[in-house]
Symmetry: C2
Subunit: 247 residues, 2 copies
Amino acid sequence: MTVFLVGAGPGDPGLITVRGLELVRACDVLVYDRLVSPELVDEIPPHARAVSRHDLDQHEVNELLVSYGRRAHLAVVRLKGGDPFVFGRGGEEALALADAGIPFEVVPGISALSAVPAAAGIPVTHRGVASQVTLVSGRNCDGSVGFDPAVLAAAPGTLVLFMSLGSLPDIVAALLDHGKDPWTPAAAIAHGTRAEQRTVRAALAELPAAAAELDAPTLIVIGDVVASGWPEQLAGVPAVHAAETEA
Amino acid sequence: MTVFLVGAGPGDPGLITVRGLELVRACDVLVYDRLVSPELVDEIPPHARAVSRHDLDQHEVNELLVSYGRRAHLAVVRLKGGDPFVFGRGGEEALALADAGIPFEVVPGISALSAVPAAAGIPVTHRGVASQVTLVSGRNCDGSVGFDPAVLAAAPGTLVLFMSLGSLPDIVAALLDHGKDPWTPAAAIAHGTRAEQRTVRAALAELPAAAAELDAPTLIVIGDVVASGWPEQLAGVPAVHAAETEA
């Protein structure tokens, strides 16, 4: 059998892939993250075991996957929020399985990267506005900031910050110190693509105050595309909004 | 009714979202790109009309969507390869619909960004190797290069280049001129996630020659993550590879 490293998508359970849902529905063991939608965990067969990795560190997760993977009669699905390879540490799990000689298959997921901004009416690339996108994570595994603020402040186009809500005041201060325009349009989108999605928009300098009430997961988008999109209520999630505007 | 802007994913038809496939199977009109898998076009209902946008420019596509969108009894699906908002010009279509007052819904797709590298054994972010990813498109709509090579050469972490195969010699020369290490690991992945996927790996300076035989769509990945992944035959597409290594 094979261990399947599957991305669950950004939140809305309808945004898992067709292949990913097939595998969840046919698994014997599901190892899942806290950010995976409960609706997807509920899709496992009656006989299957769902194992939350909530209290495990990454090394323990790797060992768990290798341990299950060695039982050749089990179909093991490792279900991770978003995409396993965009700040998801899927590479470490893939390498642990490869080192142990255990066959595995990657089934990518929709990253928050563009799906969450789109659900808030923001295209991360837009003709004439942004032809470059820079992705960083607000924190490294050791708690340090995961990027050089001078480089980030100089990057043209759109900045997308993952896992940055807690350190947002520090990040914005560093970007402004390195010359980023304080009036750059910015947005913070909490629980993107889910019914409880909430978006705040502000000039970059004001974003930390504007986003103070949000909770994780929250994606930060900085750049002129934030002012170039369409009204959130015309699009995205929840889908009924679009229908309501027609009535 | 609503116009649905749906991402088809990177190539493998199993990588469309559950929601996206539901909409394709229930549509009255499907407007699709050349890069969309024929298997997905075949999923429309018998009564539905499939319209290729192949010979239309972007303005004509926008007008077509508005025109179909005005017919309130039609469910219109606009199916685009990858994700509509990662160099997919989905923002222009969304704005055209918004300007015309036509309700629409965004259903994101899996971008090639991380899915295609992962199918070649390359994680675009990897602990201790890359905590920043920079995405650019090799060409703008007017044919000019879509980025500043000095900025790109200085960006740490992973570079992912879309639509860059034709201009790869020029792009690599510009990066090297601006000080990028010629030995930086690099890869070119053609037809990623499909059965005909083909990957070449080379030092950056050698990549244009190594990739000369590939055809579009090809994604370029530059950075130490290219040397940090797992063997391609252990993972990804076609899935039978993983099973074969077990036998």
